[in-house]
Symmetry: C2
DNA sequence: CCATCTTTGTGCACGCGTTCACAAAGGCAT
DNA sequence: ATGCCTTTGTGAACGCGTGCACAAAGATGG
């Protein structure tokens, strides 16, 4: 029986072995003292805990470059995700296969969600359409949304939204790059400042009192 | 002079006002007591600190769906990023314009990096090509890499790599979704487990001792 | 010029997550 | 069966980041 010790795993993952053991302990006691963890059993338990053993049908709305890239992305299937449908507002796209799946028109959205029991939606539309799409998804029963559009979505309680900003990662790289290139080492406020900067820009557009600003574009030129 | 108080900004950004003030204090004292922060000046200072006032030429390597999506992504320009070149290994792509920029062949990679003074590279190639592209970028002088390919890149010291895994976000959503759907509330180990799971899978492939495993595919079916 | 009011900047305390360290548990050899 | 060795599981301590609370600073009005 192939096994791994917490020490080996910790070294491989670059974390502390005690933390790793404590994390595992929350899932129950799967290890054997003096031996380690049964690799196969451990992998299964973690997979189950993370929901990888379930089948998660997802819909992708907005089949532009990004939507197509997501549809073709190989990483989804192995993680338990199944692209149940591709949806686009452009009638010219309807029926056209992307990644082997025919694109369907937005009109079908509610039916698709319902028929497939979809609870996770991916929004890859332009910013302008995102909120509206979001609302239709939620109304149709979707409770988790992955948002690639550069907008902050507002959703009712009980719905999870995760926003992926493709430029934020570049921003972080540029920040470190700037540090390498000299400069006096000053701040460490990092991702935090980002959100705050956005709020500041939003507030700037208002008369002076601006809670709940929702302007997504952060910096003026 | 339009100003904002830390209280207003904190409300807008959804954070604590004291934390916000403390963060700002690391950049220096730009506020005026009894008044607040001069919006324009604050925005400028934060922009400067984050490197938004600089011009960052970037190259995108691998012009598939994802590369094209990135090239078309509007968010870059406003954050100080300029797509200096698009590079692809397919000779058929050469010269073809994407997002108004002609694609160039991989052969030109070193020259492009050098001519444009590029220090940030984006890898959107298939997994198999990523490491090789990475090495060429580094050799040509790139010191920051944004990796969309599902591989762990190994780079020399001094080079920053950020990996964007498009499925990890879905995974997190699925995890919460699973929680909503009942289950006994157990673990809270989350992103941590992800890395550890990867390490476990890597170790499974080895005889038993497996530090520094680099197998990227996480879970077996 | 002084009093008052607002808001910043920051010392201090609390709480949480990480790490240390060790007792308990199980395997294995004798 | 017994003792030793390895590795887990976890109580306790440490450290760091967040939030509280207040003194200092500056504006504003009388």
């Amino acid at each position: 029986m192939p096994t791994v010790s917490s020490e080996e795993l910790a070294a491989a993952a670059g974390v502390n072995s005690a933390k790793l053991r404590k994390d595992f302990s929350y899932l129950g006691s799967y290890g054997t003292r003096g031996v380690g963890y049964d690799v196969e059993y451990l992998v299964y338990q973690i997979s189950r805990e993370l929901g990888l053993t379930q089948d998660w049908p997802v819909v992708i709305v907005g089949i532009g470059n990004l939507g197509a890239a997501l549809a073709n992305y190989g990483g989804f299937a192995s993680r338990g995700f199944r692209v149940a449908a591709l949806i686009d507002a452009d009638p010219a796209m309807a029926g056209k296969p992307v990644a082997g799946i025919p694109v369907q028109h937005t009109d079908e959205l509610e039916k698709i969600i319902d028929d497939n029991g979809v609870s996770i939606g991916v929004i890859a539309t332009p910013a302008g359409a995102a909120q509206q799409v979001c609302e239709r998804l939620v109304a149709a029963g979707v409770t988790s949304i992955l948002n690639f559009a550069p907008t902050v979505l507002s959703v009712p309680d009980g719905v999870d939204v995760r926003k992926v900003d493709l430029s934020i990662e570049l921003q972080i790289l540029a920040f470190h790059e700037q540090r390498k290139a000299g400069e006096e080492a000053e701040a460490q406020a990092d991702a935090a400042l980002e959100a705050e900067a956005g709020a500041a820009a939003a507030a700037a557009g208002k008369s002076g009192k601006g809670p709940d600003g929702d302007v997504p574009a952060v910096m003026p030129a």
